[in-house]
Structures are given as C-alpha cells and as structure tokens.
C-alpha cells in the first residue's frame, strides 16, 4: 500500500466516523445553542474544522469528545462573533422548535424544557457528560475547571431536575 492509498483509506474511515457521530453532534450543538439555525452552523463549521485537523485525531475511539470539543469552541466563536441574543425558552416553544414539540412524550418535553432553563454553567457539563460521554476529569479540562467544581455543577444540575419526577431536591453541596 502506497502513501496515497493509505491516505485515502484514512479519509474514508474519517468520513464514516463523521457520518456516524453527526446526529449526536447536531444534538450537542442544539443543546449548546438552543437554536436550530445556530446549531446547524456550528455543526457545519465543526465538520470543516474537523476535516482540516483530522491528523490530530490519533485514536478513532476518541472522536466523539474530540468533535464535541471542536463544536463547543465553534459555538463560543460564533457566539462571540455574532453577539447572539440570549435564548428564551418560551420563544423557542412559540417558534415550534422540534425539541419542544408538543406532540411527543409530555414528560420528556417537560424535561427538555427544564434542561433548557438550566444555567449554562450547569447545562454544559451535563450535556458533555450524558451526550458526549466525557468523564468528570475530561469535562474539567474542557471547561477549565477543577474536577471538584465539575462534580458540584453536575450535582446541582441533576438536583434541579429531580422535582420534575416528584422527588425532593436534596441538600446542596458546597
């Protein structure tokens, strides 16, 4: 196998990876942006940047957190560049966003609405963990926090969501 054909095989593998992870990438971008158009822009920019930087991905198994990291930075870049307005949950609902579609499971929609309302500092680590599969140590690195701070934010995020299921919030942690 010559160098050119090795490169082609690598490209094909990489493309399959992108295709496989694209749905979750779109979901992740949506939860960051809470706006479909912005999320689509973030995904497109992420795919382009990932392709250009594909040599940096040494282990395909790490593709998911790697892509999510790129997406988070692209979202931050977009947010900074465009000064995107703050998202209002009721406005998203009024626009008929599929994420809050009223024809689905009512419990899930309530939970989505509650996750949307979580402060960014709680929502971002939760999405990175549950959707991205990042460990608390990886989230700490990604967000520039201590691991203890990440644990606290994740705890508070879940604690706020407990009430939706008739569970009392437990005492906060320091």
């Amino acid at each position: 196998m010559n160098a050119a054909s090795r490169g082609t095989t690598g490209s094909a593998t990489f493309t399959r990876l992108l295709e496989m992870l694209r749905p979750d990438l779109m979901r992740f971008a949506w939860w960051l942006a809470r706006d479909r158009s912005v999320a689509e822009d973030v995904v497109q920019e992420t795919l382009i940047r990932a392709w250009k930087s594909r040599e940096e991905l040494k282990d395909p198994a790490a593709a998911r957190p790697w892509l999510f990291t790129i997406a988070r930075r692209e979202h931050a870049r977009l947010f900074e560049r465009k000064r995107l307005p703050t998202v209002d949950v009721e406005e998203v609902e009024a626009l008929g966003d599929p994420a809050l579609a009223t024809d689905g499971d009512a419990g899930l929609i309530d939970l989505r609405r509650a996750i949307m309302k979580l402060p960014e500092e709680y929502r971002a680590p939760l999405v990175l963990q549950v959707l991205g599969g990042l460990s608390t140590a990886e989230i700490a690195t990604e967000l520039g926090l201590t691991q203890a701070a990440v644990l606290t934010r994740l705890f508070r995020a879940r604690n706020r969501l407990r009430t939706l299921y008739g569970l009392e919030p437990v005492e906060d942690v320091e």
Binding site: M26, W31, E40, P98, A101, L111, V173
Partner: protein
C-alpha cells in the same frame, strides 16, 4: 472534598455521576440505605435525562427550512466527496463535476422565486469572502461548504432564465471551461484569484450574462 463527611461525599458523587462511583462511595452505599435510595433515584433520572437529550432529529429534518435542509445535505456531500478522493485531484473537469453534484444536491434552490433581502445576501457574501454586485435579482443564497472552504452559492433570475452562480474564491481555473451534465449547461470562468461557476437548465449560459457576472465579482 477531603473534609467532607462520607455521607455528603457520597451524595455529591451520586448526584454528579451516578453511573461511575469511586470505591469509597460504593463502600459507603453498603451501609447507607438513604444513599442507596438516592442513587436509585438518580439512576432513574439519568435515564430520563439521556432520553431527553436525544433530540428527535427526524423532526428537525422534516421541519427544517428548505435552505437550511439543503445546506445540511451540502455538508454531508462535502465529507463524502472528500472520501471519494475528489479532494486530491483538481483539474477544471473535476471541479465542474463537483459543482454539478453540489447544485444537484440543492436542486430545490431553483424553486425559489422571491428576491432575498440585501442584508441576507451581504451576509452570504461576507461568509464566502466575496463581493458581488449582482445585476440580477438573487432568489437563493447560502455560504456552502465546498472543498474545505465557504463558497457563495447563489441563484439569480436572469433575463434568459434561472441561473446558479457559485463564487469560488479558493479555486482557480486557467481558462473558460464549458460542461454539460444531467440536463444542466454550465461554464467555469476565471475571476481574478478565484473562479465563478454558472449553471442553468434553460439552454446555455449566454456569453453576455457570463461576462456581466464575472465583471461584478471581486474578492
């Protein structure tokens, strides 16, 4: 966390990551029914959270606006084109083939009839790093990913019919190259440091239109 009690430490870890608990928390659970119940509740909640985060993308696709849906497809085409090896070979014929494939993938763009607001056109051109003072109404515009860059994908209404205009800043062609495929007639033209692709399904691209368009493109 070193000064936390085993109970509060367990609460913190269970609430933060109920699926992955440190050994000392697992040990604490053995003798603490309250924390075991808390873990069970959080595991139940986590299943719901996971399901909630799994947004219904099929709904997204059904409800996406046409231009956005097409743009999504374009990004997939980008990746597939790359995998196909087109990336490595860039003569004008290959470029023409990719332009046709891209336009075919966004065929709905030819069904647009309402002129776009100038601000929207300006934003497309800005993203594609291009300037274009169109002599014709622009009815579709999107900064599409193409060969690793953004290009301005426009559709204009010319006197002879609907025409796609792609402003490709990052690709140079040496000379005018005409092509024809799948009922489309097109031409690739040099335009300064970049190139312009014009395609139509209404006959051929008139020379006068091509010259007029190219003269109004700047990078």
């Amino acid at each position: 966390m070193s000064d936390a009690t085993p109970h509060s430490n367990a609460r913190l870890h269970i609430g933060a990551d109920p699926h992955s608990l440190p050994a000392e928390v697992t040990a604490h659970l053995e003798g603490c029914a309250e924390c075991r119940r808390f873990r069970d509740e959080m595991l139940m909640l986590d299943g719901k959270v996971h399901a909630a985060l799994e947004l219904p993308l099929s709904e997204f696709r059904q409800r996406a606006r046409p231009a956005r849906r097409l743009a999504l497809a374009a990004s997939v085409v980008l990746a597939l084109s790359v995998a196909g090896g087109f990336w490595l070979f860039r003569p004008a014929t290959a470029l023409a083939g990719e332009v046709v494939a891209h336009v075919e993938d966004e065929a709905d763009s030819w069904n647009m009839h309402q002129p776009l607001p100038p601000a929207q056109v300006a934003e497309v051109l800005r993203k594609a790093a291009a300037e274009f003072d169109s002599p014709y109404p622009i009815v579709y515009g999107y900064p599409c990913p193409f060969r690793g860059h953004r290009v301005a994908h426009l559709v204009v209404q010319t006197p002879t019919g609907t025409m796609t205009v792609m402003l490709i800043r990052h690709e140079q062609v040496r000379r005018r190259t005409e092509f024809s495929r799948d009922g489309m007639q097109g031409v690739l033209l040099p335009a300064g440091e970049g190139s312009v692709a014009l395609l139509t399904r209404d006959g051929t691209v008139p020379d006068a239109v091509a010259e007029e368009v190219v003269s109004r493109v700047h990078w």
